[in-house]
Symmetry: D3
Subunit: 248 residues, 6 copies
């Protein structure tokens, strides 16, 4: 059940039997010469929609721009500052908590979001208590990274070994190829790629990772791999969501 | 050309011949008993993608949550506060202005966004000058409301007269029916509907407009109307974008 | 009844029979070679005081600095950023809402204030609800631009035609001449004046409108015109205020 | 020379021979049963205009609302929060510093403003350096409280002894009586008045000082006293301004 | 009783008989060629711990970085902006006010903190009222500068006359020598030292006071003096704290 | 070399051969019935001072209050909000980056700080670039959790097995016992302790973990263990710091 394709009365009915909602969250940032700028959002959205189908959960619109300041020396990248993103999450959750939602499950496609998301959860709990939301102590947030699920991780290692890398990875590129086969990109990739993993400022990032990749070889990606990742991720994230929902 | 389906190198190439980018912006808010919560974002996105095709413009990911505080007494509505939205727009445009974009064209589907968007543009111009973006004086933003285009407005009047209303209108509902025919909703609509148009707080809004509609009769909408609105809006917005791009 | 010339006990008494208060809001910004920097505040204040007399309304001190970032490349202009102005309005209204005021009527003299004011109203409604002001759902704000009143607008067109322009207009200059006849300025005005109306950054504004005027010929202004504008505006704004006060 | 009655070209000319500007700053807050809510602003403005005449200085519009949170349990009081007031001062001074002003002299009528003003000066110096204003190291701000000038202080002691008190004082009331003789108020004043001087929250303030006065007997004020205070204050503040202007 | 060496259960017990807590607050900033960068924090902390012992008061961790923007052109200085420091104080006091603390006593070692601290107190009172802390009207804050105590001040004048100066003073240096005898520094001090006392931006400060001292001769300091200052300050601050605690 | 015990001239000299500085960061929060409220700060500070000695690094004053909102339902806990902490870190690093520091190494004692610290690093990189700090692209921040070092972790597992838990752990308590043997606390500890590890709001936390411990048995701690942890942590953190300093 997708929030943007529902009416408010359908949401009212939904709240009678569930207090949970799923937020796909990605990023709009460079993903190397062949990765789509929307990769993280595309992956998170596809998986979240799959989870929504599998678990009858309500899925909110995808947060398509996240914390990607370190990518902004590459054209086309867009980022919130952490301080802005905290306010955005606080505003989103305040709107929904007032309406009766308690359990916010973020399916995340971008490592750079995690720290700010967690900071935002803390900020939000305190905010909701201060403004006197009834039952504010029942509000719970969780972020789950689809690419860190154990079966997903295992498959990526099997298929790509250390060519998986840590940004513009073949696994995420594969998933976007499965979702948008018409947008599979071809571009020359240097064989050599930095095995570094450190991230500082945007200018430093571009110097350190000149074509945007971090240790990855996305040329290994195929749409078929993507489908496998998709299925494993939906399964794992569905399980995680249901566990989150059921827990006290 | 959709930003999220492009690579950074494609954006780099795009910037060699154009400095413009289009942002669809909508809202995630109740649209009466039969209108989709995503109505404003759906309309803005569909039209923006059409304009992108027609003008070879780059289209950024849709801003799906806007300024809808007055709708938040209806479940499922999500809103940024104006102060947060100003920061969001500032962050988005700062990322892109650094990369060389000059002309930001917002195709807007929600009246409630306009004031905050304009405030955000002013804030952003000053910010970009202060941080010393080269050529910051060339940065230009414009918001165009698809539903205010003269041919769109005329058609709505022809088809619906004063049953068009001002929120959850048949014209926007029709457009979503054209885009998502599988999500056409049916629900009883009271014949009587407030002809008021004043907007204050969320609680007041729900008292004033109990089912969420403002003077509208969305039961008049059809997917065929939606297609007509889509075509007129794409045409008008394309013209507006090209004029904006060409102007000094 | 002017707030700054009243005592708190007089305000307490006033609140027994009225919940309304009027805020004149202007700007401190260049108005071309012959327009006063305080033009917008002077006009709004004079009219608001007239409305206060006509309607027995309480009139707050004039907000003399507004959102005029685009004028700041001309010396003497002072501006709040939109984000600051939102906080200012929120603070003002919070102070007064706690004391029992419900109806805030802004008589505005500067087009550049409107977007930020409307954003501030939305921010304030949400803030007042969150901090638990009793009856926060009764709080209502309205902005009325004196120069947009139908009789004022009609007179400007009659007197000046398209030489009214859109900034440093003869109508507002006339009104300041009526209020401050000792400060009527004389300076050469080029016959040619840009008919443009677009507004972006401060640097761009000064390039686009080198002497500060936007399509206007303030040399047509006379104090006698000013008196006419004053009387029409007081009448229209009084009517608008009373209607606002009476409405649910 | 009053900024709001000047044109931008007059300001441009002024800047050729002076970099200084004077800001009157007051407050909009209860001043006991007979003191005007605008007392602090009225005094600061009258004196600042006198200083402007005496020294040929440019005088900006009066800041009429300051930091008066502790007075907000009395109706009619309006306050900025300190954090908002810091932003307001930063915005004002940034606008003017960009235009070439260096020396900002605040003639203050309200003790509660001093701490926040000083904090704002520090914030502003750092901000102007960060945004790269040329010669930002020449920017200087000073706040002078008219009621603390030695001759003013001495006269108040002579006339009123310890009935001067520390809020709603006869000296400031006298000054407003001189400026606005038509607004002299009469109301019963209890003989007993708290000699306390501590200030905490708004609710505590009203409990501690039930009619708003702090140890003062404003019934002693006369317009003739007011004229004396006015003259002494203009003299002292003029000297202080010229000294500030001349100093490295 | 030191907060950081207590358990939460000991704090719970403490709250049964006292609602007061002491905050030492200093700064991390240059103190001339021989003064320690931590001087202000060291002094405030030592005295606060002495006061805690003398009065059985709970002492919170020292705030070691304060408002020292004007010192930041000297390496090693660290400063909060006033706007950040206001938020910090608000957050600290909110945490403790929720737990039942009412009386916050700041023992301050740095003149530059005073304005921002007072602004922060005002901001905090309003915030605590808005979030509905029970008994928020009982919350009281006070800042006491140890170096302004009358006996301390008198001793400094006796020992150093006008060589006490106003920054990097022999009295505060002496106190640090008493606390940290192993860190007594020796460096050449020019005989001439500016007698100025004005403070503007960081760059201006370093030009005006090239070695960081303001009119002081810290070479006069001895650890024995430091001990005297310590004892007088503990006595005076203890008395001040107890008076604050006892007052309504 | 401790910053607070140094002079600015010593820092100037230090900068000639090193661009690195170490920040101990802890928290002020409940640590169960026997853990000190300052545990996290005490551990981080002791280790950081040891690392400073071992590596000749400059060590800044300890950040004693961090992100501990979830502990604030226990009296004595103090927390910054994430948004405040981001500003604090930005301000600290801006002061020092302007002075020439490049490498900021945070030795952290509190898991709850990590997300906000990382968010703050990102915010700071962007800020420093925007304000035009020379060589802003060389600025690097790293957070290292002393308790996550492999030898520390291994020892904790050996000594305590799963009684180590995840808050108020015997390892951190032991370290404080080594540092402050006079402050070893005794209090009854229930044998049963929640093995949960989830963290949401403050109220939820206290319900979930009634005495403040998370799965730990701090009764196992001894000062001798503390010394072992201290030595291992200093060794590991020294190595990590030197590696960070040496890396490009």
């Amino acid at each position: 059940m997708l929030l943007h394709l529902s009416t408010w009365q359908e949401v009212e009915t939904y709240l009678e039997h569930s207090r949970g909602i799923i937020f796909p969250i990605g990023s709009t940032e460079q993903h190397g010469p062949t990765g789509l700028i929307g990769t993280d959002a595309i992956c998170a959205e596809a998986i979240a929609h799959g989870v929504g189908d599998a678990t009858q959960a309500l899925v909110a619109p995808t947060i398509q721009v996240g914390m990607a300041l370190h990518h902004t020396a590459f054209p086309g990248s867009i980022s919130l500052r952490p301080s802005t993103m905290i306010l955005l999450i606080r505003d989103y959750l305040t709107s929904l908590a007032k309406a009766g939602f308690h359990k916010f499950f973020f399916i995340n496609g971008h490592g750079g979001n995690v720290a700010t998301l967690k900071a935002a959860f803390s900020e939000t709990y305190a905010h909701l208590a201060e403004i006197g939301i009834p039952h504010s102590h029942l509000i719970q947030c969780q972020v789950s990274n689809w690419y860190m699920g154990s079966s997903v991780y295992k498959l990526a290692k099997e298929l790509y070994g250390d060519q998986e890398g840590s940004h513009a990875t073949p696994s995420e590129v594969a998933l976007t190829q499965y979702v948008y086969p018409a947008s599979i990109k071809h571009a020359p990739l240097s064989e050599a790629v930095s095995k570094d993993h450190r991230i500082y400022s945007a200018v430093d990032f571009r110097q350190r990772y000149p074509d945007g990749r971090m240790g990855s070889n996305p040329a290994l990606a195929t749409p078929e791999h993507g489908q496998q990742f998709y299925q494993l991720a939906v399964e794992e994230m569905s399980e995680a969501y249901l566990k989150f929902l059921a827990a006290a």
